[in-house]
């Protein structure tokens, strides 16, 4: 009997990336966020290209290691390279339907919740005019964006006047 090590397929690799959690929003994966630009497999060699959500995202080093570890664990993978590309612009539209659903469950308003770029002094006026971003907790649009600068570069800080909870939203 000759034992044959199965080779990984790009679909296997992508499925693995769909399971790698984002370090700062663990219910959502790297795949869900649309960070995967390309996967190529040559025998046991796997090359993965990712795009960060924001250039200054401090989680990229952790993501690189988590991705390499997850893919290296697949049958037949001998070597993994992970690189971040600069010629692709990440946009919220890259987040998958599954990713949007998970974000909402986690309490972060996903793209498509009515986000818009603030303008003028309104940026600094806590308590601007509704309708704001749809609250992921109660669904109301009686909300205000307190600041576009939330706990991570890709999230804004918001407040829901209907259910009186603060919440975050993916920035437009």
């Amino acid at each position: 009997m000759v034992s044959v090590t199965p080779l990984p397929s790009p679909a296997d690799v992508r499925a693995a990336l769909d399971m790698v959690p984002d370090p700062e929003m663990p219910p959502v994966s790297i795949g869900d966020l649309g960070m995967v630009v390309d996967v190529s497999v040559h025998g046991g060699q796997v090359d993965i290209s990712l795009v960060p959500t924001f250039s200054g995202c401090p989680a990229t080093a952790v993501i690189r290691e988590d991705v390499a570890r997850a893919v290296a664990a697949l049958d037949g993978v001998e070597e993994v390279t992970v690189r971040f590309v600069r010629d692709v612009v990440w946009e919220p539209g890259r987040i998958t339907a599954e990713g949007r659903r998970k974000l909402s469950e986690y309490g972060i308003a996903p793209p498509g919740s009515g986000q818009r770029l603030p303008s003028g002094p309104g940026l600094l006026q806590i308590g601007g005019a509704p309708p704001g971003v749809r609250c992921p907790l109660c669904g109301s649009r009686d909300t205000v964006t307190d600041s576009p600068f939330g706990p991570t570069p890709c999230r804004s800080a918001n407040y829901c006047r209907a259910c009186r909870n603060p919440f975050e939203a993916i920035k437009p």
Binding site: F54, S55, G56, V89, L123, L124, P148, F149, P153, A157
Partner: protein, 253 residues
């Protein structure tokens, strides 16, 4: 230090962002209110992220590493404008410098996008998307301080008067700029870009009665930051921001 004009351009761009980012994050914990702690932390983090992009491009041309370029050079090897090394001062100066710098980015990034150095041009897409938030923030505070009580307006005016002459230094020509223009790395000379920037600055300030800050005839101090001439303020900042790296160049964080 390299003498490759493209690497030197990327280093100058990187150093501007790195050093201003280091100043911005000094507001963390001591800004006028919590939202501003977060805003300047976030903007500073963005600028340092942008510096990593430019350092990476420089490193690819010189066979170095981004961290070595960011933290492993002597103070006189940095190529940022003196403007960005100045201490934060008061809120008026901070907002004035923030506005003048981000307007400079706003006129410069489209020019870099058209570069014949495609890796440089490609990298501008993400930066421009992120810079939108910086300019929104600067404009919001500009409007608020200009229309605020007399002390707010006076401090803003004083901040603009102090920052503008050194902001002109953002347009001191790059090293070997003639070569960069000849091969299309730069589509527009620094001097011409300065005129666009003055137009953008005037468009912001004139409606607020502050247009007299703009002095189109004022030349950048020469030799200035683009040639490695810095102030004692930078020596102090450099000592702090490179302390960990100098104590252990192989440290990971």
């Amino acid at each position: 230090m390299t003498d490759d004009p493209r690497a030197l351009l990327a280093l100058a761009l990187a150093d501007d962002e790195h050093v201003l980012g280091a100043r911005h994050v000094q507001w963390t914990g001591v800004a006028p209110h919590l939202e501003e702690d977060l805003a300047f932390s976030s903007i500073g983090q963005d600028e340092i992220g942008h510096a990593v992009v430019w350092y990476s491009l420089a490193a690819e041309r010189t066979g170095s590493e981004p961290d070595v370029l960011a933290l492993g050079r002597r103070p006189d090897e940095y190529r940022h404008a003196v403007l960005v090394e100045r201490p934060n001062g008061d809120w008026g100066y901070t907002i004035a410098r923030h506005l003048l710098f981000d307007l400079a980015e706003d006129v410069r990034l489209p020019v870099l996008a058209a570069s014949s150095w495609t890796a440089l041009g490609d990298a501008t897409g993400a930066l421009r998307r992120e810079e939108r938030y910086h300019l929104l923030h600067a404009r919001a505070w500009l409007t608020r301080l200009a229309g605020g009580p007399p002390e707010a307006r006076a401090r803003l005016r004083a901040g603009l008067a102090a920052a503008y002459p050194e902001a002109v230094g953002l347009f001191e020509p790059f090293a070997a700029e003639g070569e960069l223009l000849a091969d299309g790395t730069l589509a527009v000379a620094s001097e011409a870009l300065r005129e666009r920037w003055d137009g953008a600055v005037a468009a912001e300030l004139a409606p607020l009665g502050l247009g007299d800050v703009v002095d189109r005839g004022l030349r950048p101090a020469a030799p200035g930051g683009r040639q490695g001439h810095h102030s004692a303020d930078f020596t102090e900042l450099w000592t702090e921001m490179t302390a960990l790296y100098r104590s252990d160049p192989a440290a990971r964080w």
